[in-house]
Amino acid sequence: MKVLIAIKRVIDYNVKIRVKSDNSGVETANVKFSMNPFDEIAVEEAVRLKEAGKAEELVAVSMGVAQCQETIRTALAMGADRGILVQTDAELQPLAVAKLLKALVDKEQPQLVILGKQAIDDDSNQTGQMLAALLGWPQGTFASKVTLGDGKAEVVREIDGGLETVEIKLPAVVSTDLRLNEPRYASLPNIMKAKKKPIDTVTPADLGVDVAPRLVTLKVEEPAKRKAGVKVASVAELVDKLKNEAKVI
């Protein structure tokens, strides 16, 4: 079975995000980038499937600027077999990413597409669902456990009220949640070996996909600063404030 893993290059989770002074977006100059943590979980899950003998080939796909190669290399170091970079400097929104992925799925014919439930930069949580719709495939989103059976998969989903178990037919799309696994550290010898694994580069035009944004970002702002609290002298004063000032009781 072939597995396609979609991974996104995002600002590293340790970086303190700063909004650009012209409010057009967030500061990306001289900022460390790394793989979206949810996608890391997707790579780990795919590698475990391969180690368990349930998958033969793992293809890691990333999209965006040339530096996405580094993100693909990380996936290769963790255990993916080869990479595909869809290179473009254009802004890629979830629908465009889903269309590009569909084009690659048509070409590669994987039985499973696995990807993070959302990226920590724009938190859209759309790509997996859109891809499933475009392909007409079943989807198992927010997976906290994935068990592959014969032509089907059992996915335990994290939902608001608890856990939901669904059975879906393969081929399918699975999006990963935090508790699915704990990603490994790529070992140093594997990082060296990953340098020799192949990465193909294609463009959106090669895949015949129009990636023009459908949404326009008007403004990006810092969240409002939290105001300092006040100390109250007595319980009576607190109750009074809650009743008359905050009007919550």
Binding site: E70, T74, Y185, L188, P189, N190, I191
Partner: protein, 384 residues
């Protein structure tokens, strides 16, 4: 082939993350138990730090000196006991097998050392032979097809865990000088090897060292490094440049850590109504530390680059080891000072790092030995 400027950005990024997410958080437990937890040992092994200096053909990373130094900058950020655990497998003993070992010896040991399946320990120092390493008295007597080794080795790091001892012993009279010193690759299973009680050290808790006594330890002649007598000591001396640059790079990593500890405390601790980082005398301590750390890093990179280009670097390597370890000592002292009374409490990492850093100026050649090497090389250059 080792080339200058291997692209190791991804390696250093991976090591940095591993150090900060796995090793640094484990430091208090290592200090408490005087041992590295088994789970972390397993992670060190699977992460692949044991074979940095071993070529890829034998399952190692085959890093050039500059790349190794850059990785060491990152490793040095964690308590140095971790580095000691895989350091002896990357050090002079292993380099000796690489340079002088027979094909059989390389095939037998290097892949297992690179995987971390066996640890190598270096047995040169003796009770009466430290800085004067050529004064060793451990003997290896030829007996038919075997040699019989007798003597005591001191400060053998990882002696309790080691599977291979690289042992230096006299195969000829003292009059023969260093030509009479040979090197043996002694498997731990041989009879006549006794590990002494663990050294009780000032710092470096979690790194275990002990005496190793060889009492009529019989080994076949095939264990002789390079298959002949008189090999090994000269190579060990040749590997010292490498070892000194490596230790200097580790010191730079520790300097970076110490400065981070200092900055964190200076920003968090308030006195006279503001963070002490706003006081100029505190700033001076941080500035001196940062300048020295930057200088040490630049020295190590320059020396490593020169070594990769095949230039003689004995003087530069000694300069690096001397300056970087002494700087680490000064920085540790300043950072403890800016902690005030808290720096003397075991609740803060600086108390432990201050004790750890003291060893850097003592091992792999004391500062005084480095001074002698620098002066010797300098005077020889000028005499030409």
């Amino acid at each position: 082939m080792r080339v200058e400027g291997q692209d190791v950005g991804d390696l250093t990024t991976a090591v940095r993350r591993f150090v900060r997410e796995v090793l640094v958080p484990a430091e208090p437990a290592v200090e408490e138990n005087d041992a590295i937890p088994a789970a972390i040992v397993e992670q060190l092994r699977s992460f692949g730090l044991f074979g940095m200096t071993i070529p890829e053909a034998y399952g190692g990373l085959g890093l050039c000196m500059l790349a190794e130094a850059r990785v060491a900058f990152e490793i040095g950020y964690a308590a140095p006991a971790f580095r000691s655990y895989f350091g002896t497998s990357n050090g002079v003993g292993t380099l000796g097998i690489l340079l002088d070992g027979t094909d059989e010896q390389k095939r037998r040991y290097l892949p297992r050392i690179a995987k971390g399946a066996i640890m190598a320990a270096f047995c040169l120092t003796e009770p009466d032979a430290g800085s004067d390493a050529a004064a060793i008295t451990t003997r290896a007597r030829r007996d038919g097809d075997d040699y019989v080794i007798s003597g005591t080795k001191r400060f053998v790091t990882n002696a309790p865990q080691a599977g291979l001892f690289t042992v230096f012993a006299r195969t000829a009279d003292k009059d023969a000088g260093i030509a009479g010193i040979s090197t043996f690759l002694v498997d731990r299973e041989r009879a006549g090897i006794e590990i002494g009680p663990l050294d009780r050290k000032m710092g470096f808790r979690g790194s275990q060292s002990a005496d190793v006594r060889f009492d009529e330890c019989r080994v076949p002649a095939a264990t002789l490094l390079g298959g002949k007598e008189g090999v090994g000591f000269k190579t060990a001396m040749r590997c010292l440049d490498h070892a000194r640059i490596h230790m200097a790079a580790i010191s730079v990593g520790l300097c970076t850590r110490l400065i981070d500890e200092g900055v964190r405390h200076a920003l968090g601790r308030k006195q006279f109504g503001r963070a002490i980082a706003q006081f100029q005398l505190i700033q001076a301590m941080l500035a001196d530390s940062e300048a020295e750390c930057f200088a040490a890093r630049a020295m190590v990179e320059a020396a490593a680059r020169a070594k990769d280009q095949g230039e003689p670097v004995t003087k530069q390597a000694a300069c690096c080891k001397y300056f970087a370890t002494e700087a680490a000592g000064r920085i540790a002292d300043r950072v403890l000072q800016l902690h005030g009374g808290y720096g003397y409490l075991k609740d803060f990492p600086i108390e432990r790092l201050y004790r750890d850093v003291r060893l850097l100026r003592l091992y792999e050649g004391t500062s005084q030995i480095q001074q002698l090497v620098i002066a010797r090389e300098l005077l020889a250059e000028k005499a030409r």
